[in-house]
């Protein structure tokens, strides 16, 4: 029997079990003198659990066994697969069904079994996400180690030149590739810095306006609008940056006699900042709202104006949270890919001039991995090294954000 019929039979069995279990429980509960008994559908669920859990465990075991390099002739293995396994599964399900129905009586603690299963499912869900993260980190780590076997660490971390085009064939003439990542990180920093210069003041001021100055009617209309802005796909921002803002900056530059390339860091940074504004403003909005009303009252009661209250009481009280929000925004800007792919381009210039073109780590990762690749070439592996560094940087930022927030909290509570 193959997989799907087996699944259907199992589900049918559990449906029958549910029906039968509830029915038997109904009779038993009616007859029982006990004051409070589990409800019939809970008995039904109990039977279903007994019918499904053993086969699922068996299946998991089976898959694991097959993954171990057990030497077996294909013929016998197939026979076991087709006949032995389904029979085993059906036996397990049937056994579970039989035992559980036999055990039904009003005093059985079926709630406990059901709660226990819920508990296990929840734990499994969180373990899966943790393991996934761990798996990603490990795979990054291994590939990065491979990369550093081909390219020395010093070149990667301290090299000033990035041009990852390696020769495809041994006899091919051409660059041998150089993997100095400094221009990428300075580019990322430059664009992130520009983005934060746009996003932090605008986001913070709009949050202050929304929480302290706007009437509740205005707030009710505009706040959802801002949140819609946060939902615009980044690719839209990307071509906005590339086709509108970049060209606009170049034209402005032309008219006042400054040379601005249309793929300037400035255009990409400004648009990325715009993308992050709703992020900063909605986070700060929540944080400012959480400042207790009693502090505002205290300040107004002393004859402070609104702006004095905002500057001297509300913002200082909200500062730790705001710093946290800004750091989160930074780590988002660093990881942002689409806008810079479209607006900043691939030229790895080492410069601090926002009017020139730069590239970022994320752009280069995309560049390294698009198209047909050999999986063990230095070029492909470089993407893993970059990704690992990016991961570590954002991780550190988030940890710092947490520490800052916690430190301030200790001071103020």
């Amino acid at each position: 029997m193959s997989f799907y019929p087996l699944l259907i039979v199992l589900l049918l069995m559990s449906a029958v079990g549910y029906w039968f279990g509830s029915k038997k429980a109904l009779g038993a509960v009616r007859k029982s003198s006990s004051f409070i008994t589990p409800r019939p559908h809970q008995f039904g669920l109990y039977v279903v659990i007994w019918a499904l859990v053993p086969p699922v465990l068996l299946g998991a075991l089976w898959v694991m066994l097959q993954m171990t390099p057990l030497q077996m002739e294909t013929g016998t293995s197939q026979q076991i697969d087709r006949i032995f396994f389904p029979i085993l599964v059906l036996l397990a399900a049937g056994g579970g069904l039989y035992i559980s129905i036999l055990r039904i009586n009003p005093d059985l603690r079926v709630r406990k079994t059901i709660e226990g299963l819920v508990y296990i499912i929840l734990i499994l869900a969180s373990i899966v996400s943790i393991l996934t993260t761990l798996g990603i980190v490990l795979s990054l780590l291994f590939e990065t180690i491979q990369f550093f076997k081909k390219v020395p660490m010093t070149e990667f971390f301290f090299g000033l030149n990035w041009s990852p085009q390696t020769a495809l064939r041994a006899d091919q003439v051409g660059s041998s590739g150089s993997f100095g990542s400094i221009p990428l990180f300075t580019g990322t920093l430059l664009i992130t810095f520009i983005a934060m210069c746009v996003a932090v003041p605008l986001g913070l001021l709009s949050a202050v306006y929304m929480t302290e100055y706007a009437s509740s009617k205005f707030r009710a209309v505009v706040k959802p609008l801002l949140e819609i802005l946060a939902g615009v796909p980044t690719v839209v921002y990307g071509f906005f940056a590339a086709l509108t803002v970049g060209v606009f900056f170049r034209d402005v530059g032309d008219s006042i006699g400054i040379d601005i390339v249309s793929e300037s860091a400035l255009a990409a940074g400004v648009v990325m900042g715009m993308m992050i504004i709703p992020f900063v403003s909605s986070l700060s909005d929540d944080i400012i709202m959480a400042v207790p009303q009693s502090l505002r009252d205290g300040s107004y009661g002393l004859g402070a104006t609104k702006s004095e209250t905002v500057r001297k009481v509300i913002l200082p009280a909200a500062l730790p949270g705001i710093v946290g929000a800004v750091l989160l925004a930074v780590s988002r800007a660093i990881g942002e890919t689409m806008i810079v792919v479209m607006a900043a381009g691939f030229a790895a210039n080492l410069t601090a001039n926002p009017l020139e073109a730069v590239t970022t780590v994320t752009v280069q990762i995309v560049g390294l991995l698009v198209g047909d690749q050999e999986f063990d070439s230095a070029k492909t592996l470089a993407a893993f090294a970059l990704a690992l560094v990016l991961f570590v940087v954002t991780l550190c930022l988030n940890v710092i954000a947490l520490i800052v927030v916690r430190k301030y909290r200790e001071k103020y509570d």
Partner: protein, 269 residues
């Protein structure tokens, strides 16, 4: 109005012609469509303690917040009628409510020190109003305010540690000191002792009693004993109206309205 007249006559008879610093005339307050105060008229004597009592939701806090126009900060709140402070209608067009609040200080139910140092908490008001020309003057104001609030001994060697690290009672006295630092004439207190234990309460009451030498104090309280202990005048609010107002002693010994009688003997409220 009638009550007022009786009250004034009484005052005249006792030869105690106290000057009325606040005169409230027919004040109505609305939160949206809901009327919280109805035709409230009340006079507050200078340099005395007036307590406001009444069941929960009867409008005591609302009345208090009218006097320093804190209600202006509430969305949808509307005040009608006149409140005269030294003869000037504080709801008149020429009055700046922000400056008014410097003259009429407020202490809240829950101690609400700013998350700053003790020093900065008290210096907050003087700084925004420019009351001190230099650091020495500011130090002076901070220290005298702490002294007036009876807190100086407890905090003099930790002026630069956080105000939120004090005990509840100390925090409340810090808030009183903070209000005193802007040199108000009137101090409004909304249940200032409700979050305090009996010992801290006794300290704050003692302080309030001393303060009446130089300040006019209006205090909302749920404790009849407290009102009787510390105040000279009492007003009883019920469902947004003033039922009875006058000398504390008279109101508690021989109330003229049976609703007052009922409230002070604990039959409702």
């Amino acid at each position: 109005m009638q009550i007022q007249q009786i009250d004034e006559q009484q005052a005249a008879r006792q030869g105690d012609a106290a000057e009325m610093i606040i005169k409230t005339r027919d004040v109505d307050v609305f939160y949206g469509d809901n009327q919280a105060l109805k035709h409230v008229s009340l006079d507050i004597p200078k340099h005395q303690i007036t307590s406001l009592i009444g069941p929960s939701g009867c409008g005591k806090s609302t009345y208090l917040r009218c006097i320093n126009r804190m209600n202006d900060t509430v969305d949808g709140c509307r005040v009608e009628g006149e409140i005269l402070l030294d003869g000037v209608n504080i709801y008149g067009p020429e009055v700046d409510e922000v400056l008014l609040r410097a003259r009429v200080g407020m202490v809240f139910q829950k101690p609400n020190p700013f998350p700053k140092s003790i020093y900065d908490n008290i210096a907050y008001g003087p700084r925004i109003h420019g009351l001190a020309a230099n650091k020495d003057e500011l130090d002076e104001i901070v220290l005298t305010s702490l002294e007036k609030a009876g807190l100086i001994k407890e905090v003099q060697d930790r002026l630069h540690s956080s105000g939120t690290g004090l005990s509840g009672g100390q925090q409340q006295r810090l808030c009183i000191a903070r209000a005193l630092a802007v040199r108000p004439d009137i101090i409004l207190m909304d249940e200032p002792c409700s979050a305090l234990d009996p010992i801290a309460t006794a300290k704050v009451e003692e302080l309030i009693d001393e303060l009446k030498e130089n300040y006019t104090i209006i205090i909302v309280t749920h404790s009849m004993q407290q009102a009787a202990r510390i105040s000279q005048k009492t007003a009883f609010f019920h469902l947004g109206e003033i039922v009875e107002a006058g000398d504390t002693e008279k109101l508690f010994t021989s109330p003229s309205d049976e609703r007052t009688q009922g409230y002070i003997t604990g039959r409702f409220g």
